[in-house]
């Protein structure tokens, strides 16, 4: 079987080779009352893998708040969904595809996008936007990381552009700890009338199980358990056959087909096939519906001849969906599928009782009580232990401490984590579907009009370095920064999705990071009243050199009542006043400057005045909505100086500012501070710090740089590192 790595002792029991522990296998024997068949063993190995079962995180995730007045679908469905008014809903989710992308970045990233798209249209929503959060090793030092970045971006563009869903935002970070374990997190939003939202629970004994979409081949056999639950080591080249290959053209047809089936009310339930393919899709559908399922695998249309039953059940061939259809509707379903050139094959039926049976020409090759496969998977408690010392190496210093502040600012502007991502986002189509009101670099969040005059906003944010300093505060900061991005365009958060990217949770220090980070996320969500409607966990992101920085990534969707008033980040008019808004108390620890100075990863992150933070977010949001603020930009990496420089570059105009002596220009406090501009009378009540105008950014007594020089540093930083002509 493809899951056996060469050199490993073939005397190891098969269940061990498939990634099950002795304890888990004993549990299977006990619950079944017998030994599992080979097909059943393969099914258990995937359903009970970390990637599918969330063994180490499920208990922890219950801490996250998931209810709220706008929530329509919460965690547990293919995607979460919130009400956005006018009878419309936005379904959204973020998912990781880290391990496949480290092996084959183009297809790994592409199929990551494909997978999250399917999760969204599986609940009946038309995908209207994609965002991606990417993390790699240092581009200046690692050719491999430059290669991964270029290929992952090409893969995301290939899939998203081809299927006609705009990529409207994202983030990219570079840290040496991601060198062996890149992070590819893809987020998708979809739009649906409430009436079209559908759940995945199978129902109605006698109803027909229909498989839609691509042929089933050997893609990703064993992928879920082999790749996602094991730390990457040597010899992962032979894991390449496990990587899935995506086809956006097939998915485009599948998408249109599914939406037409739903509009015609022809389906009882719908589920996409992702990790663990037919096994997990059928098991989840049966489990949620508290029914049984019979699957006749000889009916499954195959791409390759002679596939074994277990291969058919765990294949991760892309672009497939499973649906339940009432018998009298099957003909209509097949007709819609034919019109959209989408293969549709009845492969089984819903049964009363609670067994998932896999038949091969009528002969059972698997017969499992659904609850044993889905619910009886053991969950593990983490054993967190706070590390005494920092566990991440410091970066090589680029600045040494004596430089003038002009040089510090230019170095930050061209640094890989701050400089413009234009080279990347120009490879994505941000406008298809004609909803995009704010494109990348126009504002802090993407804004998409809904057609009734209102709009939704979305941003995706995370920061591994700061979470490594203090997981609880760092994770909370990710939520505050994301919400701040939404405030800058005038949007109020409605719901949050998160992807938790961490190392090996069986190691106590990582367990501590994970536990603290989830607590921080929960606290921040409670403080802002934002429910978590779904998400994803990616563990075991670890190399022999150690775990990745603990990296919770959050995506928040919000709403603004009037699309015309959506905010922008650039200064616009000479004479506008500039103000600093919020409980902004910047600190050096965990900042980009600290990284460039080669500081160790650690230190105390600033505490947050929650009441003042909420007030500041509201003030900025209201100011943008009312049209009082010409621009709004939250202060993030690089601190106030970088935020001001970004506003100048975006607007093509300078600014003159006066700050109190000794003000920390480069310290950070994510989510707590905003730079806004507007007519002086509109900014009454804020702390005015200067005025828009001229051709330079000038902070009195501190620094003066021409906008063109700042722009050159900002625009050429990343391209220069990637050795592209700038």
């Amino acid at each position: 079987m493809a899951t056996v790595a060469p050199g490993r002792a073939s005397t190891e029991p098969r269940y061990r080779q498939l990634g099950l522990s002795d304890y888990e296998y004993e549990l299977i024997l006990e619950r079944l009352g017998r030994e599992p068949s080979p097909v059943e063993l393969a099914m258990f190995s995937l359903m009970w893998s970390e990637h599918c079962a969330y063994k180490h995180s499920r208990r922890l995730l219950r801490r996250l708040p998931n209810t709220g007045p706008h929530v329509l679908l919460g965690p547990g469905e293919n995607a979460g969904a919130v009400d956005v008014g006018s009878g419309m809903a936005i379904a959204f989710k973020v998912e990781s595809h880290n391990h496949p992308s480290a092996v084959e970045p183009f297809q790994g990233a592409a199929t990551g996008v494909g997978g999250i798209l399917r999760d969204v249209f599986a609940v009946g929503a038309r995908p209207i936007a994609v965002l991606d959060s990417l993390r790699f090793g240092e581009p200046g030092q690692s050719e491999r990381s430059r290669y991964l970045l270029e290929r992952a971006v090409a893969g995301i563009g290939h899939y998203g552009n081809s299927i006609g869903v705009p990529t409207v935002g994202g983030e990219i970070y570079f840290e040496s700890s991601y060198e062996q374990n890149c992070l590819i997190n893809a987020m998708c939003l979809g739009l649906a009338p409430h009436s079209r939202l559908i759940r995945s629970a199978a129902a109605g004994p006698g109803n027909v199980l229909v498989l839609l979409g691509a042929l089933t081949g050997r893609d990703g056999i064993g992928g879920a358990s082999v790749l996602a639950s094991a730390e990457l080591g040597e010899g992962d080249a032979e894991k390449r056959p496990s990587v899935q290959i995506g086809d956006p053209f097939t998915e485009k047809k599948l998408l249109e087909c599914c939406l037409e089936l739903l509009d015609g009310e022809l389906l009882v339930s719908l589920q996409d096939l992702g990790a663990a393919g037919l096994t997990s899709a059928s098991a989840e559908m049966a489990s949620k519906g508290r029914v049984g399922l019979d699957i006749e695998i000889s009916n499954v249309p195959l791409r390759e001849p002679g596939m074994a039953p277990f291969e058919i059940m765990i294949s991760e061939s892309q672009e497939r969906m499973l649906c339940v259809v009432e018998p009298e509707r099957v003909g209509a379903v097949l007709a819609v599928c034919e019109r959209w050139e989408t293969l549709a094959t009845p492969i089984g039926q819903v049964t009363s009782g609670d067994h998932l049976r896999v038949l091969n020409h009528g002969r059972p090759v698997a017969d499992l009580p659904v609850h044993v496969l889905v619910d009886d998977c053991p969950l593990y408690d983490l054993e967190p232990v706070e590390p005494e010392n920092g566990i991440y190496p410091a970066s090589a210093p680029v600045l040494h401490g004596g430089e003038p502040e002009t040089q510090v600012l230019l170095t930050l502007m061209r640094s890989p984590n701050i400089s413009s991502r234009r080279h990347v986002f120009e490879q994505y189509d941000p406008v298809v579907q004609s909803r995009t009101v704010r494109r990348p670099e126009q504002a802090d969040a993407a804004v998409l009009q809904l057609g009734d005059g209102s709009a939704i906003a979305v941003s995706i944010d995370g920061n591994g370095r700061r979470v490594a300093c203090d997981p609880r505060r760092g994770a909370a900061e990710a939520v505050y920064e994301c919400a701040a991005n939404l405030a800058c365009v005038g949007a109020e958060p409605l719901g949050l999705t998160n992807c938790l990217n961490f190392g090996n949770p069986e190691k106590p220090h990582v367990a501590w990071q994970l536990t603290e980070a989830v607590e921080g996320l929960a606290e921040a969500c409670e403080a802002l009243g934002v429910p978590v409607v779904g998400g994803n966990v990616s563990l075991y992101n670890e190399a022999p050199t150690g775990p990745i920085l603990p990296t919770p990534v959050v995506g928040i969707v919000g709403k603004l009542p009037d699309a015309e008033t959506a905010g922008r980040l650039g200064f616009a008019r000479a004479g506008d006043a500039i103000a600093l808004v919020g409980p902004y108390d910047p600190a050096y620890a965990g900042s980009e400057l600290a990284k460039l100075r080669g500081a160790h990863v650690g230190g105390e992150l600033p505490a947050v005045d929650l009441q003042a933070l909420r007030a500041a977010h509201a003030a900025v949001r209201e100011g943008v909505r009312a049209g009082r603020l010409v621009s709004a930009h939250d202060i993030a990496e690089g601190g106030l100086a970088v935020a001001l420089a970004e506003c100048c570059v975006a607007g093509g105009i300078g600014a003159r500012l006066t700050l109190p002596g000794g003000f920390d220009l480069f310290g950070e406090a994510p989510g707590c501070g905003f730079v806004v501009s507007g007519p002086p009378e509109a900014l009454a009540g804020f702390t005015i710090i200067g005025e828009v105008g001229g051709e330079a950014l000038e902070i009195e007594g501190r620094l003066k740089l021409s906008v063109s020089e700042l722009q050159a540093a900002y625009e050429c930083g990343l391209p220069d590192l990637l050795e592209r002509r700038c």
Binding site: S162, G164, K253, W340, E341, V431, V432, Q433, S434, V437
Partner: protein, 226 residues
């Protein structure tokens, strides 16, 4: 005026084109398998990735049943407007000269570019002035216009080069900065930029509207092309 927007499997900007065209008249979708053009005054072949761009962009779409009707419609003088993938389809169908090749950068590029109107003696740029600049976005991987030199000379001489990328704005290496061309009879037109994404100030520029308004104005006149 009634516009028909073709829908192939894989078309992406079909609904966008329909919505944009609805600003200047009635706009319907024409399914690729249907030969009935529903009496439209103009046909738009939209952007996207018809048939996954398999083999060559537009190579398979050009043989769709609806394209037989479009070819007839064009030879009868009907207006045909190809955008991006639509331009590729029309070149493959030999309704327009030249071919579209991979961008010199070999990467997909989205960019708001400035176009220069070369001439307005056709139904597609009639509401523009020669030399006028239009701000319209491009988004493609295979947008480099090519024709052999002798054919290019003939195109220019016959007034078939309608739009060029303004200096410094060529995003894909198109020869002679050519962004849009028409056929000799001036009733079939193709361009790589997307005017349907430049019709609403809320989402970008409105310069693309001028092309649609030109078609609408032409459709309202008594028949007979230039």
């Amino acid at each position: 005026m009634k516009v028909g927007v073709i829908r192939f499997p894989g078309s992406c900007d079909d609904i966008d084109a329909q919505q944009a065209a609805a600003r200047v008249g009635e706009a319907v979708l024409l399914w690729h398998r249907e030969r009935d053009l529903q009496g439209v005054d103009a046909v738009i072949v939209p952007g996207g990735f018809s048939y996954g761009d398999y083999l060559r962009a537009g190579a398979i779409a050009r043989f769709a049943p609806v394209m037989e009707s479009v070819a007839e419609f064009a030879s009868d003088g009907g207006l045909v407007f190809g955008i991006c993938n639509g331009f590729q389809v029309l070149c493959e169908a030999h309704l327009l000269p030249g071919a579209l090749l991979a961008n010199t950068s070999l990467r997909f590029v989205f960019r708001q570019v400035e176009l220069e109107v070369v001439r307005n003696d056709n139904p597609f740029t009639a509401t523009c002035e020669p030399g006028e600049r239009l701000s319209i976005p491009v988004k493609h991987t295979t947008g480099r216009f090519y024709a052999p030199d002798d054919q290019l000379d003939a195109l220019e001489q016959r007034g078939q080069v309608v739009l060029r990328y303004a200096p410094g704005n060529n995003p894909n290496g198109s020869v002679r900065d050519i962004a849009g061309v028409c056929n000799e009879a001036r009733n079939v037109f193709g361009l790589m930029p997307h005017p349907e994404h430049a019709v609403d100030a809320l989402t970008g520029s409105t310069d693309g509207l001028k092309l649609l308004q030109s078609i609408a104005a032409h459709a309202r006149q008594p028949a007979a092309a230039a």
